[in-house]
């Protein structure tokens, strides 16, 4: 499972990373960005949900609307950007209508809030539009022959529950707004999102709900014709029990007395070695049940028939990751 074709494929320019909340998609997106930057590439890491998860991960000030360098590695560089729908709309107004001051007036009377939070899907149209811009921006001001500004864009995308709507918003939006610049742009964005230079990666844990959501998202994304990439199994724990012990544990055929004796001779029997042995074996039984369930869930994920990579659970545990953890995961991906 070491080779990860589409994750590091130089031709894939846009990596969309999604997963159920809590599966670590932000961390995985960051690790992927870092792994690409280590290959000497210039990579833009984008977040769109206003969570500032990337800033927390890399321990920098909240990211803004302009790309901020996060890590520089020889030729490679990783930059971060937090896209805000409101700023994106004001930018569009300015670019398309030169509405610098008038745009701010619209903002004051609530038109910008209206447009970004209410108008059906416009928010997602603007966010995906910014992603699209980042993918196709070229160095220098002139379009055409200069190389792309970023070799890769890695998007910390909305969670699996929203990913279909989010990525497909331009298909819907193009239908809803039948004319106008938004319509024109929506058509171009969809073309990029459906192209072979885009991959949507799914992050899952070996737990019931994330696996269910991953399965649902795969069906949805396939139906929408969006290009699926890899399945990233996150926080995978190495096995602790060998096959014999697993069987013993499932069938609960223990020799409690022998374990109690071992504990005593190791000096950790405590005051009641037998009850301690029973307590520990109870934990082994829980563990075996969990391992068995994880096996079933892994089977279900493998049946999705996607390239799969497993990332180990890091000692820091959930929510406590910092960028050293991201570096470790990038090692795993590389």
């Amino acid at each position: 499972m070491r080779s990860v074709p589409d994750l590091l494929d130089p031709r894939v320019r846009l990596h969309v990373v999604t997963g159920k909340g809590g599966t670590g998609k932000t961390t995985v997106a960051a690790a992927l960005g870092l792994a690409l930057a280590r290959r000497g590439r210039r990579v833009l890491l984008m977040e769109v949900e206003g969570r500032q998860g990337l800033a927390r991960l890399f321990d920098v000030d909240p990211l803004g609307y302009a790309p901020t360098p996060l890590v520089r590695l020889g030729d490679g560089e990783l930059l971060g950007l937090a896209v805000d729908a409101k700023a994106a709309l004001l930018e569009y107004l300015d670019v398309f209508y030169h509405l610098g001051r008038a745009g701010r007036t619209l903002d004051r009377i609530g038109a910008v809030d209206f447009a970004t939070t209410i108008a059906p899907g416009l928010r997602d149209v603007l966010l995906t539009g910014k992603v699209y811009d980042a993918v196709r921006t070229r160095q220098g001001s002139r379009r055409g022959d200069t190389p792309y500004e970023y070799d890769h864009v890695v998007l910390d995308a909305p969670p699996t529950g929203r990913i279909g709507n989010f990525l497909n918003v331009n298909a819907v939006g193009a239908g809803l707004a039948k004319v106008g610049p938004i319509h024109t742009q929506a058509v171009s964005v969809m073309k990029v999102l459906r192209s072979q230079t885009t991959r949507v990666h799914l992050v899952s844990l070996l737990e019931d709900m994330p696996v269910q959501e991953t399965t649902d998202a795969v069906t949805e994304l396939r139906d929408l014709g969006l290009p699926l990439g890899s399945l990233v199994l996150n926080q995978v724990r190495p096995p602790l029990l060998d096959a014999d012990m697993l069987t013993l544990a499932t069938e609960q055929r223990w020799d409690v007395a022998a374990l109690a004796e071992d504990l005593t001779s190791l000096g950790v029997g405590g005051r009641h070695p037998r009850s301690r042995a029973e307590g520990l074996l109870e934990e082994v039984r829980d563990h075996a049940l969990r391992v068995e369930r994880e096996g079933e869930l892994r089977e279900r994920l493998l049946a999705l028939d996607l390239p799969t990579v497993e990332l180990p659970q890091l000692p820091a545990g959930r929510g406590g990751l910092d960028d050293s953890g991201v570096h470790e995961l990038a090692d795993e991906l590389a």
């Binding site: 809590g22 899907g121 529950g161 019931d208 709900m209 950790v268 929510g319």
Partner: protein, 397 residues
């Protein structure tokens, strides 16, 4: 005394007494909130089941239950109607119904209840309405509140309220605060200044200020047309015009429900998992509820790793594992991993004991397998009623 030293000196905080909460007849609504993925729905269902089995006439309103949890409650379809749950061991008058929220259907029902049949039909067919009712971030929260209001109004033939306890699960969201903010956001949009401006050309009367307003609105409308395309705005205007009869009603309704939630019969239960993000969110939510004088019952720390042999710590366990025979070594590895996790989770959860003023807490242990049937749901209820409060950090920094 500085907050820091006070925190150090504090013993275990107050314990959330779940049974006292569920047995209190003045508590009519329990709202379970918290960030996504912490097991909110499971806690809501477990509380409702326990209440029913302790004699309450309970209904649980779930938003987006895991498929197998839904099945355990007998909810095979998302049909927006409370249905009796089979297999409940009720005592006295106790009963349990469960339902899954269908946000679009609830919205449709609101429209149908407030408009003439022709107007309702017009509105339900409006593309803007369809987008708003099925995809606007905030509609789900608003409709959960709307449904809560409806459930409270249901009566038996003899005029008695059908349910004396409604347990509400809140929509999955990034932030627990969304639940409090979304209805106001939707309400203020629907009643907002901009919508009125957009509407103004259609109802421009003779008064001068109206003419001024409508000329501004004309400008705004022009720009919006160019951005969105004319059709979108026409749909919005048609929608708003059709909504005229209910207009102003939405914000009012949202405020009314908000007031209801702030009232005496409601108790908020904040659910958190022993993970950094979830605990941080729970802290924000607790602060917010307290700042707004909302009735907070306490915090459930869900799925906490436990061990009866925690006295044997992870370092010592790994140390002796090296000298142990293979089978025993594996047993010790399993224990070491579990205790290490437990130690990390305790550190994270202990942050909840440093909130001011102190908040009642209760810890529910993790189960080896997900909750997928009534029996394990009952087990969660037992755990919630007997669990300890979160203990403050024992090691000094």
């Amino acid at each position: 005394m500085s907050p820091r030293s006070r925190a150090k000196a504090a013993g275990p905080g107050p314990r959330l007494d779940v049974d006292a909460l569920l047995d209190d007849p003045s508590v009519r609504v329990v709202v379970c909130c918290g960030s996504g993925g912490v097991g909110k729905t499971t806690v809501a269902a477990a509380l409702a089941l326990r209440a029913a089995e302790r004699g309450r006439r309970a209904v649980v309103l779930t938003i987006d239950p895991a498929r197998r949890l839904a099945q355990s409650l007998g909810l095979s379809e998302l049909d927006n109607t409370p249905r009796p749950v089979d297999g409940v061991r009720t005592t006295g008058e106790g009963s349990l119904d469960a339902m899954m929220l269908d946000m679009k259907r609830t919205f449709d029902e609101v429209v149908e209840a407030h408009a003439t049949p022709e107007k309702a039909e017009q509105m339900l067919a409006n593309p803007f309405y369809q987008a708003l009712s099925s995809s606007f971030a905030g509609t789900q929260e608003y409709m959960a509140m709307e449904k809560l209001g409806q459930l409270r109004a249901v009566t038996d033939p003899d005029g008695r309220e059908r349910w004396d306890l409604i347990v509400v699960d809140t929509p999955p969201s990034r932030s627990a605060l969304d639940f409090l903010d979304a209805p106001e956001r939707l309400g203020s949009f629907l009643d907002g200044r901009l919508i009125r401006l957009l509407l103004a050309p259609a109802k421009a009367g003779g008064r001068a200020y109206v003419r001024v307003l409508s000329s501004i609105a004309g400008g705004v409308t022009g720009v919006m047309n160019r951005i969105l395309g004319a059709q979108v705005l026409t749909d919005v205007q048609t929608f708003v015009a059709a909504f005229d009869t209910m207009f102003g009603g939405f914000r009012e309704r949202a405020q009314h429900t908000y007031a209801l939630l702030a009232g005496e019969g409601t108790a908020f239960v904040v659910v958190a998992a022993p993970e950094g993000d979830a605990v941080r969110e729970a802290g924000f939510f607790v602060d917010r509820l307290q700042a707004e004088g909302m009735p907070l019952a306490g915090v459930v720390v869900n799925r906490m790793t436990t061990s009866t042999e925690a006295a044997l710590d992870s370092d010592r366990t790994l140390e002796v594992a090296d000298q142990a025979p293979p089978g025993t070594r594996q047993v010790l590895w399993v224990h070491a991993r579990r205790v290490r996790r437990l130690e990390a989770e305790r550190e994270v959860a202990a942050r909840l004991t440093r909130l001011h003023p102190p908040v009642p807490t209760v810890v529910a242990p993790a189960r080896p397998l997900d909750v997928t049937d009534l029996e394990s749901l009952r087990g969660v209820g037992d755990d919630l009623s007997t669990g300890p409060a979160v203990s403050p950090r024992t090691t000094t920094p």
